[in-house]
């Protein structure tokens, strides 16, 4: 986000002490999107990382001010596109909380199952992309094979593969597909078989371990101070799983563990996400057979109007705590809306985590932060 002259100055000149300044991104194979990092290097060692954002900023917050409460939900799919279902869920939960809409049990169960499937899909993609950042191309294809099963389930039930747009305030847009349960079970079976592959290929691999262990350390205090949430904070030993702390939908009815590691390094973040996938499978297994019969959408008014006041909900996306803050004036549109995106806070810790390490470590650290750029820029 420099003007032209400054870009030229940046790439040809050196830093104040003769450091190398490289512009990593906005087009760079490891940034997975249009993230622009200005990295100050001393040889191979990183001195400072300065993120420059905004390449995919669409001002969703401003956009939502002119949309009705029914409409704005689907814009949030475009923020963290890998957990779009959970984003939608967060917005719907806020409206339901604000207007006291009763959600049928069936809808709650399905929402949670789909959230967990989304989480697995997101983590699978992350796993592949992370391995690719470290130079191992092959796991990417293996993870995508399982992810494809999830996207097919989504396609069949929700009608879309990535931005599902399946949630309406009060429930779901339509009922699940008759094959839904069968397919989910088939997926669980395949996933359990294939998850060992990643242990052989990635987790236990000596190169991978030496690339991630002790790299990008984030202490628990720093994690809290930087506002990190999700797997990033949990790998540092901070308990911050919204599903446990402030359960929504039917998360209070299922048993699962909040995965907490204490090392705070890249490997711990990796392990947290891998174990989280298994916990998600556990949640789905508990719910898939006992989806109650009944309505899939509750009774709502045609035109939704949030009462005057301020509302905040949070949900646990694949990347951490996603918060929706709405200031309502009582009309059909939100007066002011703020999305607290997990990636934005997690990114702010990047400089702290990666400064002093090598360029190769930056890839490991950035990879385990699991950055989704539209989520950061909004």
């Amino acid at each position: 986000m420099y003007n032209q002259t400054e870009i030229i100055k940046d790439t040809t000149n050196l830093g104040p002490e003769g450091e190398l300044i490289i512009n990593m991104g906005p087009q760079h194979p490891a940034t997975h999107g249009v993230l622009h990092l200005v990295v100050t290097l001393n040889g191979e060692t990183i001195k400072k990382i300065e993120p420059h954002l905004g390449y995919i900023h669409r001002s969703i917050e401003k956009m939502c001010e002119s949309l009705t409460y029914r409409q704005f939900i689907y814009v949030t799919s475009r923020m963290d596109y890998l957990s779009s279902h959970i984003n939608n869920l967060g917005c719907a939960l806020l409206i339901e909380k604000g207007m006291q809409i009763e959600v049928p049990e069936r809808a709650k169960y399905i929402r949670v199952i789909l959230s967990e499937l989304t989480r697995i899909a997101s983590h699978e993609l992350w796993l592949g992309a992370m391995a690719m950042d470290l130079g191992a191309f092959t796991p990417f294809f293996y993870t995508f094979r399982e992810r494809e099963m999830i996207t097919e389930i989504m396609e069949e039930t929700c009608g879309a593969r990535l931005t599902m747009n399946y949630i309406v305030p009060g429930g779901l847009m339509y009922d699940i597909h008759p094959d839904f349960q069968k397919k989910v079970k088939a997926f669980i079976k395949q996933f359990k078989e294939k998850v060992t592959e990643f242990e052989d290929l990635v987790t236990n691999n000596i190169i991978f371990q030496s690339r991630t262990k002790g790299i990008g350390i984030l202490s628990a205090e720093d994690a809290i101070s930087f506002g990190c949430t999700g797997p990033v904070a949990r790998a540092s030993g901070v308990s911050c799983d919204i599903r446990k702390l402030y359960p929504y939908d039917v998360y209070d009815k299922v048993e699962f563990d909040e995965i907490i590691e204490t090392a705070g390094d890249s490997f711990a973040r990796y392990i947290v996400r891998v174990k989280e996938m298994n916990q998600s499978i556990r949640i789905i297994e508990q719910l898939i057979d006992c989806i109650p019969e009944g309505e899939f959408v509750g009774k709502t008014k045609n035109v939704l109007k949030l009462p005057k006041g301020e509302f905040y909900t949070r949900v646990e996306t694949a990347r951490g705590e996603f918060g929706v803050f709405i200031v309502s004036e009582g009309g059909t549109n939100p007066y002011r809306i703020k999305f607290r995106s997990p990636g934005f806070s997690n990114l702010s810790a990047l400089n702290h985590m990666a400064a002093g390490s090598k360029i190769g470590d930056l890839m490991a650290t950035m990879g385990t932060l699991d950055l989704v750029i539209p989520d950061i820029d909004r």
Binding site: P29, E44, G135, N205, K358, I359, G360
Partner: protein, 358 residues
């Protein structure tokens, strides 16, 4: 039995009978140059396709399958595309070095072809210090890479080139030691003699465990020397976009690309020659019948088979492992490979002196 030896001798006899010896030699040189360049182009096309197919199979996908039967002409199409592309030279680059670098890299790869025995008595130059020649020339390729990285005036390129320098200089050592073990066992630096010494069994079988260790070290070291994953730090895609050849395009890029694959072929050929007996068929002790059957397979097929097997192993590495970090790469060399190969050389020397090998 089919042999390339017949063709070469007939040609030579004919040439020397027909022409003055100097002119005959010149004509032979031209033929050799022509053949070498043809081999280069052919190998480039085959190896790139092979890499893509191997990668595809490992990554549970089909790979190129649109151009020609089974995608056979994909690389031809790619080459055509690269030839048509504009060869950009950055404004602030050192133009002379920038344009020279790909040719240096290419020339080094070509020079290395000289002492390789492709089949029985089919060798360009059977120099009596063959192994030394290979070690000496192969370390030159770093100059081309450094030149490319420096002349591009790009920070990514510079970092990649510097990495490459550190990497090749250090891995030269253990590759050299691994080669030395075979030299110690054979007692000769000449390629043809090394192959002849494997008449009754390849060194990897005859040399006990030390030869196996040397072989493993050799494979690791040459993977690093050719800048292949998991040691592809010089072009570390996710870190330095494309490393030293970031600024290259068109045919100049293609030369780097080609040189990479030719280098792989050459180091694998050397590995096959030293450890797997080169063109020597698989002979097992006194099983005369078996040995005779093996002799019926042409020597060139043996050589190519072994070489391509080693190439496959190196490709297999690439599509399995993550990349190392620069300090880990140097750690691996100086803390693990070098001490082990030094000890190994000592062991081999003892074995060779006591005559414990078969």
């Amino acid at each position: 039995m089919f042999s390339l030896e017949g063709i070469t001798t007939t040609t030579q006899n004919w040439l020397f009978a027909k022409f003055d010896p100097t002119i005959a030699l010149a004509i032979e040189c031209i033929i050799v140059i022509f053949l070498a360049i043809t081999l280069f182009a052919g190998l480039g096309l085959v190896l790139v396709l092979m890499e893509r197919k191997v990668a595809a199979r490992i990554q549970i996908r089909l790979g190129p399958n649109r151009v020609g039967p089974g995608g056979m002409f994909q690389t031809v199409a790619d080459t055509l595309k690269l030839i048509m592309k504009e060869g950009l030279t950055p404004d602030s680059a050192d133009k002379f070095l920038f344009n020279l670098a790909p040719f240096i890299v290419m020339m080094v790869a070509m020079l290395l072809l000289a002492p390789i025995a492709f089949a029985k008595n089919f060798q360009i130059w059977d120099i009596n210090i063959g192994v030394l020649y290979i070690s000496a020339i192969s370390s030159l390729s770093v100059i081309g890479i450094l030149m490319a990285g420096w002349a591009s005036n790009n920070k990514y390129s510079l970092l990649g080139a510097m990495r490459s320098g550190a990497q090749i200089v250090s891995y030269e050592l253990s590759a050299g030691f691994a080669v030395l073990t075979i030299v110690v066992l054979t007692g000769s630096l000449q390629i043809s003699e090394i192959i002849a010494a494997q008449q009754n069994g390849w060194w990897i079988f005859k040399g006990h465990i030390p030869a196996v260790i040397a072989f493993v070290i050799f494979i690791i070291a040459v993977t690093a020397e050719t800048n292949r994953a998991p040691f592809d730090l010089a072009e570390a895609e996710s870190e330095l976009t494309a490393g030293f050849h970031t600024e290259y395009s068109g045919m100049k890029f293609a030369l780097f690309f080609l040189a990479e694959y030719i280098n792989i072929f050459i180091v694998c050929a050397i590995g096959a020659t030293l450890f797997l007996g080169g063109w020597m068929p698989l002979h097992i002790g006194s099983w005369e019948a078996f040995n005779n059957i093996m002799d019926y397979i042409p020597s060139s097929v043996w050589f190519m088979g072994k070489t391509f097997f080693l190439i496959f192993v190196i490709m297999w590495f690439r599509w399995t492992f993550p990349r190392l970090r620069i300090d880990q790469l140097l750690n691996l060399e100086w803390k693990y490979l070098l001490p082990i190969s030094l000890l190994n050389l000592l062991l081999v020397a003892v074995i060779a002196i006591l005559g414990w090998h078969f």
